[in-house]
């Protein structure tokens, strides 16, 4: 192994990339616009939820309830009739529909414990759960406050003070920005490494390298460092300009530590890209493999839905995915301000996964080149 070869080949990779303006445009796009739009689009878990009210009571208390729903959590409620309710929910216009029965106020004040019906579109899982809790709390507060003016109600004196740490307002754009960054890092490094390998194979340049005094290990290491550099530069700029600059996300933790983590992650994903490049026989096959690998990597890493809620089997399988460890590490470093003493297990896992993939790819490298020829 010679470091000079690795350095020279890596420079070659960088020069190739610079010559492909379309790729550069795509890279810039995915590290700016894609991240910005995805992060800012992400609503609060309950944001602008659509609610409609069937008010059969038309009383002060029902008016009070209707007035309690307002942005940002809810869109202003639509007043509808009972018959419209089903049609609107079927069409997906409303996620929630409250049905306040006739004589609700009279029964309430008479202590007859009337019942309000809350209809929830349970196919919209993200809003259904939290939303119904919110709706119940809001309605409960309004009704209690209303009732208190007319009769005495015992309320216990225990308060619950809730604070969200690391992201006090639970702003999803903070989280979304970083998770998007993680996704883009993963995608870019796999595509660059894998597709570049296949292209070199299709153009016959890789076999040219193999007859020179260069080992496959050097060729692969060069690809890894060059791509890692591109991805790291793009990520640092993205954090500084887009995430902190344009979006104003406060970052608690150490960005250098995050970049070290990202470098280890990129080692694992470029190795994966090269591995896929040795598995696929042609570019179209690589494209499909990419989708097959990328989708679970992104959706099941814990960046979209919480990991601990996934089925046991999926959790175990996803332990082998580099993104799982990178996502948890990124959250710990950037939001919780964790240091190396906290995130070393993830780092270790990434190194192990990357090393294994690199090893597989190395073992397959020569055989694949021969097969194409």
């Amino acid at each position: 192994m010679r470091l000079a070869n690795i350095a020279n080949l890596g420079v070659k990779e960088l020069r190739s990339l610079i010559r492909d303006p379309m790729m550069l445009v795509l890279i810039v796009y995915s590290f700016t616009f894609a991240i910005y739009s995805a992060a800012t689009a992400m609503p609060e878990t309950l944001s602008r939820a659509t609610i409609s009210i069937v008010d059969e009571d038309r009383s002060p208390v029902s008016a009070r309830i209707a007035g309690a729903f307002y942005p940002p959590y809810f869109l202003p409620p639509a007043q509808i009739t009972q018959s419209e309710m089903d049609a609107r929910m079927d069409a997906g216009l409303d996620t929630f529909a409250l049905d306040i029965p006739p004589d609700f106020q009279r029964d309430l004040l008479a202590g007859r414990q009337p019942t309000i019906q809350l209809n929830v579109d349970a196919t919209r899982m993200s809003q259904a759960f939290t939303g119904s809790g919110y709706v119940q709390t809001i309605v409960g507060d309004e009704v209690t406050a209303f009732a208190r003016r007319y009769r005495t109600v015992d309320t216990p004196q225990v308060d619950l003070v809730l604070r969200a740490r690391f992201n006090p307002e639970l702003k999803p754009s903070w989280f979304g920005a970083i998770m998007q960054l993680v996704n883009q890092i993963t995608m870019l490094s796999i595509v660059l490494a894998g597709a570049a390998l296949i292209r070199e194979r299709e153009h016959g340049t890789i076999e040219h390298l193999l007859v020179m005094p260069v080992t496959p290990f050097e060729i692969m290491t060069a690809k890894v460092w060059a791509m890692a550099l591109v991805v790291l530069v793009a990520s640092s700029l993205c954090i500084a300009l887009v995430v902190q600059g344009m979006m104003g996300v406060p970052i608690e933790g150490s960005i250098p530590l995050f970049l070290v983590g990202a470098a280890v992650h990129v080692f694992a994903t470029t190795s994966m890209g090269i591995f896929l490049g040795t598995v696929a026989r042609s570019m179209p096959q690589f494209g499909l493999l990419l989708i097959l690998v990328l989708l679970p990597l992104q959706m099941l890493s814990g960046g979209t839905t919480p990991r601990e809620s996934m089925p046991e089997l999926v959790q175990v399988v996803m332990m082998a995915a580099p993104t799982t460890h990178f996502v948890s590490m990124a959250q710990a470093i950037l939001y919780r301000g964790a240091g190396l003493s906290v995130v070393w297990p993830q780092m270790l896992m990434l190194v192990a996964i990357g090393g294994a993939l690199f090893g597989f790819a190395l073992a397959r490298f020569r055989a694949t080149v021969a097969r194409i020829g």
Binding site: M23, S37, A41, E44, R165, H208, L292, Q298, L313
Partner: protein, 912 residues
């Protein structure tokens, strides 16, 4: 004088800064065989591409059949009268399709009916001697057969103008001779046909009726071969061409002088091979090849493309492990891991192993470094190579912008940069002009004689083979014979080496019985009735011929279809189970400073729910910080001292709860849970403590009905939404590469020169992928119903109709990416960017589209997945019918036509 078939007036063409044609004015005579001669990169191919209409005219005017080729209407009208065979072996063919299917595809494009097609195909394969191979995939044919097939495909529609761009480059001499005989017979059958040929073989050009010699984007001279010879006073066209060159280009030209090889160093072998055999599956590419090459010798391998020359060379370099046999370089057995031997060898592969993204200088520099030349010596060495190989003026150019000949000189310079003792050169001079070729050989001879570099070279040029010290004739993986060129000619009793070679070939072919019956001598004499002229509007037949072809290619690559189908099933299983919105098994811990029954009861209240699992208690704030930072607990509860006492006395007291907000959606959910449990605990205390009075929780009640999914199962919500994602990503990726790949492989030229329109091309390509997508859809629905047990409550028909529209949109999106991106990498990356984020984030999979903000909301409202998610969820969970979903169908109905029109706008019908 008859009207010329094509008239060029001051035609100019440049690629970036490179001038390909420099104000060319030329009349090409009709009804005869007209040839363009000259080295590569002088503009022959560009000129032919302009005449055929494949390339866009930049400057000047080109008239073909009396009309202006700049006009799309005229091109459409005369297109069917022109046949164009681009440069490169079988460039316009589809390698996975059989001989019959390839010709059949072109026949369909030109609108022949079945009977007509079969008759013509039978006639053409008969005439070309391809009859025994009609079922063989085009990719597995030899170079000569590929060219014959390519010719069949060109002739299927009875063209009046046949344009052949270097049809015989890289073809063995026997096949070459057969090819020209075939052309003669065809012309005999269709005397009015004009044939326009570009060639680098001067001996071929001698038989043409009319020639135009070209150099540097200009026409040097025109006339009959005899006239050119007379004018220059030379005896061969090669010499005539050199004489026609401007004086400065001729400078330094001298004939190659061959010095005989004198063995020194005893009898040491530089390369030795014994019984080398290479099998790919049941195909034997190289069969028991052996030879021994002495140091300083120039050893030639002569044979057609695909006869095993390249494979043999790859085995020598260690690139391919031999199936059987052994080889030694410098007495060392070939070993793929042997770095030291590699330093002593220079290898130049047929595929021009240059980095097209690096400049000439950077290419040289990279290789110098990789061979670890001392850093201070590198600039001098590069200068030396540049001088020696005539690269000094183009040091900062990119290889792709250079003509073939210069690129090959660069390749050799790269192979020579480290001063190797041995050169292995795989067809280094194919397509290089005679002057450059001779210059190249002078270098080789100098290297061999002066520096005693051993040279192992493969070629299909006879005059080059004559310059070798010894040659081996190869055919079909076997060495027919090995000796000095002179001895071979003598042994065969032939006049020239070419004749000797053809003699050996005929013998070998007769033995193997492989080439099939000799082509019929009568040829195509029947004047076939002209095909009915294809009409210019949208033609379903042409569209379906593309569909058929795409479908056949898909079928021949079963891995791709399997990946698409199996992959989507796997993804559906993983994601259906994996993406769950039920937030469960959250970790929490308590910092209990009270330690009373009441405080423990409060903690138990939380621990008892299915949402939380309790971790060991927190000791102090430091512990709390550390464990939250590590993500070990997502919820921490602090119960203050005196909590039990205060509650009992009814004094105000506060419980603190910290939520890990790093993942906001989870944080929100936890907040909801904790509030609910707190309220529940309070209500229970009130119920316990106060008897009789009405508790706060019982003022009124809210009855929550979770509709469509009463058990609130994540699966019911997720599975119908995962289907749209998969049906977007996979079909889009399948189509995304279909056009770009043709661009990279060269068969896109069929779009340029056949009457097919852009819409026919795009829609034709789309059809098979939509059908594959429908199969995929059925699989996924079955999976949803029987594995995930998510019932389909609504109309299956409506869902299917929506899917069909949606798949049209998804495949169109892939085509759109494919139509404007140039490389396959960019297409993959671009498609991933265009599909993954919008489909998973902006289309209502997790967050409803109505709640999105900013750009995401805009994209969400435009993206087809949004509407299909509503249709899928509506039909699966909500039992909806068409009338309920009408408004979702409209956007889907519009999506595909809009996307296809955009693709058609971005796709070019001519090369620019």
């Amino acid at each position: 004088m008859i009207e010329p078939v094509a008239r060029l007036r001051e035609v100019g063409l440049r690629y970036g800064r490179t001038v390909a044609l420099d104000s060319v004015t030329l009349d090409l005579p009709a009804g005869c065989m007209a040839g363009l001669i000259g080295p590569d990169g002088v503009g022959k191919s560009s000129l032919l591409a302009l005449v055929s209409g494949a390339r866009q005219i930049q400057a000047g005017s080109v008239e073909v059949f009396g009309g202006d080729m700049a006009s799309a209407r005229h091109r459409g009208a005369v297109g069917p009268r022109i046949a164009y065979m681009p440069q490169g072996l079988g460039k316009n063919l589809y390698p996975t399709l059989s001989v019959f299917e390839n010709i059949d595809f072109f026949g369909r494009l030109f609108g022949h009916d079945r009977e007509e097609r079969e008759r013509r195909i039978a006639e053409l394969v008969e005439a070309t001697g391809l009859t025994p191979f009609t079922d063989r995939p085009a990719g597995k044919l030899s170079g000569g057969m590929k060219q014959k097939l390519s010719l069949c495909c060109s002739l299927i529609h009875d063209p009046d103008l046949l344009i052949l761009d270097e049809p015989t480059t890289g073809v063995d001499p026997l096949s070459r001779r057969q090819f020209w005989e075939l052309i003669d017979r065809i012309r005999a059958g269709r005397p009015g046909m004009s044939v326009l040929v570009a060639t680098a073989y001067m001996e071929e050009a001698a038989r043409f009726d009319w020639l135009a010699a070209m150099d540097g984007g200009r026409v040097l001279a025109t006339g009959t071969p005899r006239a050119l010879l007379e004018r220059t006073g030379t005896s061969s066209l090669e010499a005539a061409f050199i004489a026609l060159l401007p004086a400065e280009d001729r400078e330094g030209y001298q004939p190659v002088a061959i010095q005989p090889f004198v063995a020194e160093d005893g009898d040491e072998a530089a390369i030795e091979a014994r019984g080398l055999t290479m099998r790919f599956g049941d195909f034997t590419a190289v069969d028991n090849v052996g030879f021994r090459i002495r140091r300083g010798e120039i050893f030639g391998f002569l044979g057609s493309n695909g006869c095993g020359k390249t494979t043999t060379m790859k085995m020598l370099t260690g690139l391919l492990p031999a199936s059987e046999g052994q080889a030694w370089l410098f007495g060392q057995e070939v070993d793929a891991g042997d770095i030291e031997t590699r330093r002593r060898v220079g290898y130049m592969s047929q595929a021009f192993s240059l980095y097209s993204e690096l400049t000439v200088r950077q290419n040289l520099e990279l290789h110098a470094r990789l061979f670890s030349l001392p850093a201070e010596a590198i600039p001098d060495r590069i200068e030396e190579m540049a001088r020696r190989f005539g690269l000094a003026d183009i040091m900062d150019a990119l290889p792709d912008a250079l003509p073939l000949g210069q690129r090959q000189r660069l390749s050799l310079a790269v192979a020579m940069i480290h001063g190797p003792e041995m050169l292995i050169l795989d067809e280094p001079t194919s397509g290089v002009d005679p002057v450059a070729r001779d210059g190249f050989w002078r270098i080789l001879i100098e290297l061999a004689r002066r520096d005693r570099v051993t040279i192992f070279i493969s070629t299909h040029f006879m005059n080059e083979a004559e310059r070798c010290d010894r040659i081996s004739l190869m055919h079909a993986g076997r060495v027919l014979v090995s000796d000095t060129p002179g001895a071979l000619v003598e042994r065969r009793g032939a006049q020239t080496l070419e004749q000797a070679f053809i003699g050996y070939l005929e013998e070998a072919v007769a033995e193997a019985g492989d080439a099939g019956p000799a082509p019929t001598t009568q040829g195509i004499t029947k004047a076939t009735p002209p095909a009915h002229r294809p009409h210019r509007g949208f033609d379903f037949r042409r569209m379906f011929s593309f569909s058929r072809r795409e479908a056949m290619e898909l079928r021949r690559d079963p891995i791709r279809a399997t990946l698409a189908l199996l992959g989507s099933v796997i993804l559906m299983l993983v994601m259906g189970y994996g993406i769950t919105m039920d937030v469960e098994d959250l970790t929490f811990a308590v910092l209990d400073r009270d330690q009373t029954i009441t405080s423990r009861d409060y903690a138990l209240n939380i621990a008892g729910s299915r949402y939380f699992t309790e971790r060991p208690p927190i000791r102090d704030y430091d512990d709390l910080d550390r464990r939250m930072q590590a993500g070990e607990v997502t919820l921490a509860i602090e119960i203050p001292p005196g909590f039990g006492r205060d509650v009992a006395r009814g004094r105000p007291v506060q419980i603190a709860a910290w939520i890990d907000g790093a993942m906001p959606s989870r944080g929100q959910t936890i907040r909801g849970y904790v509030q609910g449990m707190h309220a529940h605990w309070l209500a229970r205390r009130v119920a316990h403590s106060s008897t009789g009075t009405t508790a706060a929780g019982q003022l009124f009640s809210i009855e929550t009905r979770f509709r469509y999914n009463p058990d609130v199962r994540s699966l019911v919500a997720m599975v119908p939404a995962v289907i749209p994602i998969l049906l977007m990503l996979i079909p889009a990726m399948l189509t995304a590469l279909s056009i770009v790949r043709e661009k990279e492989m060269g068969s896109i030229v069929n779009l340029y020169v056949t009457p097919v329109t852009r819409f026919e091309f795009l829609l034709g390509k789309q059809v098979p992928y939509v059908l594959l997508g429908m199969v995929n859809f059925l699989l996924l629905v079955l999976l949803a119903m029987f594995v995930f047990r998510v019932p389909l409550t609504g109309s299956f028909l409506v869902l299917t109709a929506g899917t069909a529209l949606y798949l049209c949109a998804a495949t169109a999106l892939g085509l759109l990416a494919s139509s404007f991106l140039k490389t396959q990498i960019a297409a993959i990356f671009g498609t991933a960017v265009m599909t993954i984020v919008p489909a998973t984030q902006f289309s209502g999979l997790i967050d409803p589209v109505s709640s999105l903000e900013g750009m995401g909301a805009v994209i969400g409202h435009l993206y087809p997945t949004t509407y299909y998610v509503t249709i899928a969820r509506g039909t699966f969970s909500k039992a909806l019918q068409f009338s309920d979903l009408r408004s979702e169908f409209l956007p889907l109905l519009l999506a595909a036509p809009v996307l296809i029109s955009l693709s058609a706008m971005l796709l070019r019908k001519q090369e620019r």
